[in-house]
């Protein structure tokens, strides 16, 4: 920063600096706090035990999403532990006066879908949530990151967090993304290159022509997976696309305040000449759809490629890790990805459960049938996404093709409710993690875009979505 030029991250950081604590750590002000049922009970309990008040209840938006059924929407969740956790949130938000979107409300949905949808997420804000995919909100030029439960309690009590400054990293996606590809392919391509620890210690600003061209939803998908690259947060500088998305949202500013806000948001860009600690440039004009083959999001190949061979690994440790992953995934080196068959298709999650994602999948499903033996689920990210999709007739397209049309929630992204893979089942999933057992014990997850997931559903195997789109 010798020339005084600052990155977007530098600006967000400096604007939220409250104090330097006696131990030298920086205290950062937190503007927005999203709360859900899984990572909050112990935080509320901690406040109670210490007799501490909740400093700014109105800075919180809470919702249940992880535990709930996507098949029937009654508050009587069948499973005892899930029901208790949902009940605990309802009790806590009432006791502490925290804004809450009820389970039976149309606005209910996955935290990272409803924050932007309600205009709760705004450029220039700091946004936290007891959930690693909080990085999603960085798509608006907000400094957004996931925190643990002790930190949730810390924010509740102080509206601040002690933080260490991250390093600046910029990822530029240059060129024009080919038709049929989107934010998910960019995210997977990047993680395949830099690895799941590639962004550790950094905040990644996504830039370049392909990001400028990306819709708000594509940018959210990209920032959502910044955490999968190990980064603290992802960021995209707000622009006209951002403002158009936010205008008129229930919790966004309106009237003269809107104009004042937009004028301020326009200053949220990296200055020319600002230095980054690390920069990665990826040319995307001839990118092919991406798909994972292993048990880490960095295990990525193009759909036109094959299952890699551990014999070609760079080191003994890598060879061993690959061999373990291939055994778990039951894949043989050299198998073309297009020959790998699937049992289950999951379209949804905070990565790809928004309206554009469903449109992309529906474009592939239209007039086709889910392949015999394949179970395919479409789970909208929120009640409002669901209503919008139904208004556009997407539900009909999915149902006629043989997909299941579900109620909003996290669902098979992590299978805390009753949507999960059986041991040995293989899925094409639009979620964000392919860890062992993530979607169910012994389940085998391949991460793909919504279009690629729909293509796998109708052909029964991983298929280059571009071929199906051309055929239409």
């Amino acid at each position: 920063m010798t020339n005084g030029a600052r990155t977007l991250y530098d600006k967000l950081w400096e604007a939220h600096l409250v104090a330097t604590r006696d131990d030298g750590t920086s205290l950062l002000y937190i503007d927005r706090h999203l709360v859900h049922e899984v990572t909050s009970p112990q935080a509320f309990e901690g406040l109670r035990m210490a007799g501490r008040p909740l400093r700014r209840p109105e800075a919180i938006l809470s919702v249940v999403d992880h535990n709930i059924s996507t098949q029937n929407r009654t508050t009587e969740i069948a499973e005892e532990t899930s029901r208790l956790q949902v009940a605990a949130l309802v009790e806590n938000v009432q006791a502490f006066g925290v804004p809450y979107i009820p389970l039976l409300d149309d606005r209910q949905g996955i935290v990272h879908v409803i924050g932007p949808e309600q205009g709760f997420t705004l450029p220039g804000a700091t946004v936290v949530c007891g959930d690693s995919h909080t990085s999603t909100h960085g798509a608006f030029g907000a400094l957004a990151f996931g925190i643990g439960t002790s930190e949730v309690e810390h924010v509740m009590a102080t509206q601040t967090l002690p933080q260490r400054r991250s390093k600046n990293m910029r990822v530029r996606f240059e060129g024009t993304l080919p038709p049929g590809l989107g934010g998910k392919d960019l995210a997977l391509r990047l993680i395949g290159q830099i690895g799941t620890a590639g962004g550790t210690g950094h905040v990644i600003e996504f830039a370049g022509s392909a990001v400028r061209d990306l819709s708000m939803e594509g940018r959210m998908t990209l920032c959502n997976m910044a955490i999968e690259a190990g980064a603290r947060s992802g960021l995209v500088a707000p622009d006209e696309i951002t403002f158009a998305y936010l205008a008129g949202r229930p919790m966004a500013p309106a009237g003269p305040l809107w104009d004042q806000a937009v004028a301020s948001w326009k200053t949220l860009a990296t200055d020319a000449g600002a230095a980054f600690d690390r920069e990665v440039v990826i040319e995307v004009s001839d990118l092919a759809p991406q798909v994972t083959w292993g048990t880490s999001p960095e295990a990525v190949v193009a759909i036109t490629g094959c299952v890699p061979d551990p014999a070609l690994a760079a080191s003994a440790a890598e060879r061993e890790a690959m061999t373990l992953a291939l055994a778990y995934m039951d894949l043989r080196p050299g198998t073309p990805m297009e020959e790998v068959t699937v049992d289950v298709v999951f379209i949804g999650s905070c990565t790809n459960g928004r309206i554009e994602d469903l449109r992309e999948a529906a474009a592939v499903a239209r007039g086709r049938k889910v392949a015999a033996g394949v179970r395919a689920l479409v789970v909208p990210g929120s009640g409002l996404v669901k209503l919008q999709a139904e208004a556009e007739g997407l539900d009909r397209i999915f149902l006629e093709a043989g997909f299941e049309w579900r109620l909003p929630g996290c669902s098979m992204c992590l299978g805390m409710n009753d949507d999960r893979l059986e041991p040995g089942e293989r899925s094409a999933s639009t979620s964000n993690r392919n860890f062992e057992g993530r979607q169910g014990r012994g389940g085998r997850t391949h991460l793909v875009s919504p279009g690629m997931a729909a293509a796998a559903a109708v052909t029964g195997r991983f298929t280059d979505v571009r071929r199906l789109l051309e055929a239409q």
Binding site: V38, A50, L84, A125
Partner: protein, 195 residues
């Protein structure tokens, strides 16, 4: 929080890269309302078979390692979700120190909130510790790890070290800055009234 100064105990090697939080504590155990009792579910999916029987080959099921207090692992330990259930499960099992070449950030932060020391050493040193016979001693004030004939120095930010050694209440420390928080809020209401 219990202060962390020195610890002498058995070190169990789980030498794989990218041990993720789903592996440390799978989602079905996140439905708890308390911080305790998760130790028996630690590493559940690789520790027990589908019927809940212990898998004898898993390191923490072997007699010598059942009481391990230190865990040795590979790079990028704790990657994945923000679930603090991961350090809660380790702590409840009895593990108070994880030694790995690198850690995922949220997990790393969560450890300090629970009196667990996430300690970074090069993989070669970890290999040597895994092969050493007898207990491992972690001395946080001196910033050393030693075992039969071995001694390694590790780095840790002074503020982090202090938190653990003194077992400090992080929230109380931030609340000590209350005047600054109030001043910030007053200014913010003027500058960005939409927030």
């Amino acid at each position: 929080m219990k202060p962390f100064t020195t610890l002498t105990g058995t070190a169990a090697p789980l030498l794989r890269a990218n041990v993720d939080t789903d592996l440390i504590i799978p989602k079905q155990f996140l439905k708890t309302l308390v911080r305790t009792g998760l130790g028996r579910h630690l590493f559940s999916e690789i520790r027990y078979d589908a019927e809940g029987r212990e898998l004898p080959e898993f390191i923490l099921n072997q007699p010598a390692f059942r009481g391990a207090e230190v865990l040795l692992s590979g790079p990028n330990f704790g990657c994945g979700s923000s679930r603090e259930h991961a350090p809660w499960a380790l702590l409840d099992f009895g593990i108070r120190c994880v030694i790995a070449p690198s850690f995922a950030e949220i997990f790393f932060n969560n450890c300090f909130a629970n009196g667990i020391l996430p300690l970074a050493l090069p993989m070669a040193a970890i290999q040597q510790l895994a092969e050493a016979k007898g207990p491992v001693t972690v001395d946080l004030p001196e910033q050393t790890v030693s075992a039969a004939g071995l001694c390694f120095r590790f780095e840790l930010e002074p503020a982090r070290k202090n938190t653990l050694v003194q077992g400090l209440d992080e929230i109380a420390r931030s609340l000590a800055c209350l005047p600054a928080i109030e001043a910030y809020e007053a200014n913010r209401t003027q500058a960005t009234p939409w927030l």
